[in-house]
Assembly symmetry: C2
Homo-oligomer: 757 residues x 2
């Protein structure tokens, strides 16, 4: 855990300290986004200290070459990289010709504040240079109302002797990537235009050798100002700069507003059409003031919060945690664009290539199912359905039938290039099917399953059927050479979770086939031989189990390990991934994230409470939770077996994972997809929400420290508000048809209260 | 298998076909070297077709950055690359101003010939351009007499109308590496000098970020000519070129000889001293003609052959194979420089980084023990002894005690960067100890073992003792997470071979300690606690064994695999490494190279013939021999259990592995270290040579197709000549004290024949 220097507050992240040693950490925490673009909490103006500047555009990336595993067939050719886009926020401030640099200057009254309710990032600070003393107020947001818009406002208030203030406002294409292999530049300037103080720059990603289309992006900056003597914009090779200058007396203020519009070739194909769109958006916004566009933006954030806010009484730390997670999730993805998915770092960093992982299906879909319109989930399912041909290609790369969804991708084609993940962490395929099942189960609507979902399920079934082998020695089907969700073991045989998911997929496919229309069934061309094989595998699948401990066995030889619990390790060795060599980790019994327990979590009806407890008791003491995805599953299971203290501990870890830097890597960016975990821990954990056999149920408990908590969910066309207090659980139907639910195993009939109708 | 287009001949590789489709393959086969430098059989002059040009200098390399496994602690920072040096052979030929290019020109009477007896590479060809017709004779060698010297002679004979011949002779620093990641250039020019037709160029490897010293290399070219009108040399930025021109009448000849001297900072530190050495060598050689320096060179090759030649009667293909292997091995390494080792590709390519592998200890040391002076083997052992601190560093990188010798290295520090190899293929440590044991056993002299060898053995013992773990469940010591010699399985548990080598090492250490001097023993600081632990591990080491098949078990779950033999596979799937995805290979039971059988081979006394047979019968049908190191061990074991046909099949595969391109990758370079395999197959296989308990024994058989075979060996100060014919086995003592040996289990007393004394 690390002190983030931000104050505890339900709606804000506010700090009065510029933590120069940990600037990257603070930048990550103060990231903002609107699903279309976003950026780290970097300063607009020059800062000479250590920093990690990054502005990212959804769906804009570069296929960088990779040279690993050259002797291993089946590897992907490139790794898709999220690329830091052209720096369109760039400003430089000068007081009497001396540039402002918060790393070296004398600063006072520093405040940096992320307002989550309003979606605003604001800074205040006073710079003193001799007798000169200027107060800066810098605010920015990326608009929910106009996705292409980033707006920045800077106010300069002279608190000292009369001074000349100069501002240079730029669009700068000379940017690098934090994770570039050889300091490559990924952008080239295509066009520049300057009209008065407006600047327009079009840049294109550099060529690649993998037939991936280049992206073209247009940026247009306009300015509004009060009190400046204007100078026209100038161009250099990589940059457009507009300079402003004002001499202001003591007590006077000047204000500069910068608006940047960003249009990409994902929406407008040609440079001409990009420019037209930029100019048209500029026109549309021209009549609105900064305050007006800000209000439009804030209103949309308020609407999101009305539907999704989780209120926690009596624990401001927990409250801040859950809201921070929801804010960052919605900043990354709100389901408007079916071509996009939820990158593990969103717009807050470059690590992991930033593309699509199985996190979406395992952790994000339950969140969006409950908190957003049904189309959002269907968009996420469709994303995979559209990429079925690429998933078939991935399976073919391994010489296998059916489809293998990628570990990391932008296009559906696998990008990841570590064999033990790329080729072996195939349990991900199970989560693709689980998400379709989850959607049908939660919504009660099987139409997606029976039309599109089954396409994916069939191809994944074909994959599993080809990937298992029959062991004559054991008389069972087995799956060798896999990596389970616990990536701290690689290339194991018969990972229980993977084998279970394969068996479950085949069974679910067999159960679903009879429900299909004749036409649909025909189109899938499933032979009798195939279904016979699937049935045989379902029947004879080997699911390792340890007799002595009576637990599901993580994989064949797990019990031969030295099973010292985490609690007995030297604390200096944690986190293991920063202190132990990779081989040491692999040999150890320590579990990065829920593995057997992931399966137990996915299918609550399939296991008895005793089984859940035994497996939790065995695996939890060996779990180091060094994946951000780990604690939430443990929180939910702990809650179910009424290990309340453990559930709360796990909740806190997931809710404040980034705020408190639990894994010591938040400086690289936020763990966006795992942020759903804190919501899952409250809703599926503390409140015990389940949907089984068309029945919605809750079995809540109230964490000891909390006074109460409440949250909304969407369920089958209704909006519900659940409130848990010491007095008990109240469930209100806010909107929709009457509904019978179960609370603490007793039925309740819900109707919308008259006044609310 | 691929037709190499070279004729079968006992001493030569001769082709009359320029195989443009397979030029790289032919280039590999026509490589030459002198232990100090060497090059592929590239043409001196321009060739516009596909080719792989490479000239390499022993011990000159570059640490290239690597970005794999960034989240895995313990990885090396760089990968050492063999770098293609400055092209000092470069020539260009012009006939009446038109450049000669064998790819596009009309050629006739083409001959390319590697003369292994004399160490010469010669080409003849006639170029016809209209009425012009010129016969070229191009010869080169790298001198055994003056290691820094490469000599090239070109004769132009006019067979057509009078023509102007122009030759440009250059030293060109503008070279790239076949395996560069980003087409980086590794050389920069430091100095150039031109005096008349002589040129001197000094180049330096570019800077690196890993504190590896840069290499500086000086090249000096001088020329002798008859019949040319001389022009002075000229410089460009990266190149020095000397131009010659002659107009010659029909029937006339002109000759140009080019000598290049190469001096590196490995021997002379400063640019000044490099230049001095170049000039001094030039002076020394100035009085010798091309024929004189050639004769000096040839004489030394003849001397080598006198000691090491293997003669095979009745099978010219087998004869060519064994001589080709010995020629290429001696071209790579003849033991003159203790700072060098035997790269897997020698001077014939860049693949594998070209540095030091465990191949040396496992396969090359037995060869040099028998065929070279004892100092050569001791130099090879010393190489590892000197690198003990680096091996300790490698172990520390993994958080382990003792020493871990690297998989790939130039300096002793691990360069390899695949975790399943770097961290897991630790059986290599066992071969370091085996080589010391092998030396003591073969020579009968334990002084190396007891002075330096034990330093290495102690530290490796400490490594094993830390790397095993005690499984409470099984009550035994185990070793999880290893890769055995069969690299087609990774991260397995309890690889029999690795566990056996660890147990053997600890036992050997415990047996050796009492023999040490008190002082030596003191210096090792081995505690009683340590030896107690070692004894405990020796006693309780788990060595997997399968009851049903009664074989040593390759690793814990091997029998659960689908054990279809190789013979039943679709032949189109072979070689697997070019047709199957990596995960498919890993899941399969197919064995790249001897694994269990490697252990059986290492310790012939430790296993009964029945055990050898059972394990061979079980594992050989699953072995695909896709490592060049594989067939020799199988040949030797097959010979021992009198599977003569199989032994010959395996011999042929190892002897002509590159000549017939068995693994379809000879175009990348020759498999130098595995070339010892054909010698081992004859000597340890067919002739059944063993050294056990100070006794040298043979148990020969004569392959059916052969009329006879004979070879020399060094043994404990003697030189022996062994001749095997249909009539039986003759062993002659050529030099040294009388000796009793065993042939076919009967003793023979050998004395030098009077006449030979």
């Amino acid at each position: 855990m690390q002190n983030n220097k931000f104050e505890l507050d339900g709606w804000k992240l506010t700090t009065h300290e510029l933590d120069k040693e940990n600037k990257r950490f603070q930048e990550s925490l103060t990231s903002i986004g609107n699903g279309y673009m976003g950026m780290r909490g970097m300063f607009e103006e020059s800062y000479s200290g250590d920093k990690h500047e990054g502005i990212y555009l959804a769906g804009v990336w570069y296929p960088d070459k990779t040279r690993v595993g050259w002797w291993k067939n089946g590897y992907p050719e490139y790794f898709g990289k999220v690329i830091n886009t052209v720096n369109f926020m760039k400003l430089a401030f000068y007081i009497d010709g001396a540039e402002v640099d918060l790393y070296t200057d004398t600063i006072s009254d520093f405040t940096h504040e992320l307002d989550m309710y309003n979606g605003l990032l604001t800074r205040f600070f006073i710079i003193t240079k001799g007798t000169k003393r200027v107060k800066f107020t810098v605010q920015r947001f990326v608009s929910l109302a106009t996705k292409e818009l980033c707006a920045i406002s800077v106010q300069f208030e002279n608190l000292g002797a009369a001074a000349t203030i100069k501002v240079a406002s730029a669009i700068d294409a000379n940017v690098t990537n934090e994770d570039a292999n050889y300091d490559e530049k990924f952008w080239q300037v295509v066009e520049k235009e300057v009209v008065a103080t407006d600047g327009l720059l079009v840049a294109r990603t550099i060529e690649n050798n993998f037939d991936i289309p280049q992206f073209t992006v247009g940026f247009k900056m306009t300015h509004e100002q009060t009190g400046f003597a204007v100078q026209a914009a100038v161009e250099t090779e990589q940059e457009i700069v507009t300079n402003y200058e004002a001499t202001i007396e003591t007590g006077e203020k000047v204000v500069l507003e910068k608006r940047i519009l960003v249009v990409t070739s994902r929406d407008f194909e040609t440079v001409e059409s990009i420019k037209e769109q930029l100019n048209s958006l500029t026109q549309t916004l021209a009549s609105s003031t900064y305050d007006e566009i800000k209000t439009a933006h804030q209103t949309l954030w308020h609407r999101r919060w009305d539907l999704a806010d989780v209120e926690i009484g009596g624990d401001v730390s927990a409250q801040q945690g859950i809201r921070f997670n929801i804010f960052q999730l919605f900043s990354t993805y709100y389901g408007e664009d079916a071509r996009l998915n939820i990158g593990p770092k969103g717009f807050t960093g470059e690590k992991y290539g930033g593309a699509t992982y199985w996190d979406t299906e395992a952790f994000a879909i339950p969140f969006y199912l409950s908190l957003a319109a049904p189309e959002v989930t269907e968009n996420l399912l469709d994303y995979r359905h559209q990429q079925l041909p690429q998933a078939q290609h991935n399976a073919r790369q391994q010489g296998l039938a059916g489809a293998l969804y990628p570990m990391v991708t932008f296009t559906g084609v696998e990008c990841h290039n570590e064999w033990e993940i790329t080729f072996e962490e195939i349990h991900r395929n199970g989560s693709m099917v689980y998400a379709i099942y989850n959607h049908a189960n939660y919504t009660g609507d099987e139409s997606y399953l029976l039309t599109k979902g089954i396409d994916v399920i069939t191809e994944i079934s074909r994959f599993w059927a080809d990937r298992v082998h029959f062991s004559k020695r054991q008389g069972q089907y087995m799956m060798h050479g896999v990596t389970g969700p616990n990536e701290y073991e690689n290339n194991v045989n018969n990972n229980w979770y993977t084998n279970y998911m394969a068996q479950w997929t085949l069974r679910y496919a067999l159960e679903t086939l009879p429900k299909l229309s004749a036409e649909k069934r025909e189109s899938l061309q499933i032979t009798a031989e195939e279904t016979a094989k699937w049935s045989d595998i379902v029947e004879k699948m080997y699911l390792p189990h340890d007799e002595q401990e009576d637990v599901f066995l993580q994989h064949d030889t797990f019990m031969d390990k030295d099973l010292t619990p985490v609690a007995e390790l030297d604390p200096a060795s944690l986190p293991l991934n920063q202190n132990w060599s990779w081989d040491h980790i692999l040999r150890s019994p320590y579990i990065k994230q829920a593995d057997v327990l992931q399966g137990v979590y996915y299918f609550p009806e399939n296991f008895t409470l005793e089984e859940k407890k035994r497996n939790f008791d065995f695996y939890e003491p060996l779990t180091v939770h060094e994946s951000s995805l780990s604690p939430s599953v443990h929180a939910i299971l702990a809650a179910e077996i009424r290990y309340e203290e453990k559930a709360v501990e796990m909740y806190e870890r997931t809710a404040r994972l980034d705020l408190d830097n639990y894994n010591n890597d938040t400086e690289d960016g936020l763990h966006i997809t795992s942020m759903t975990g804190s919501w899952l821990a409250i809703v599926q954990g503390f409140a015990g929400m389940r949907v089984s056999d068309h029945e919605l149920s809750f079995k809540p408990f109230l964490p000891e420290k909390w006074e109460n908590y409440r949250f909304h969910i969407n369920f089958r066309g209704r909006l519900l508000l659940i409130t848990v207090t010491t007095a008990g659980t109240d469930v209100k139907l806010i909107k929709g048809e009457p509904l019978t639910i179960t609370v603490d195993e007793k039925p309740r009939v819900l109707k919308v209260e008259e006044a609310a109708k």
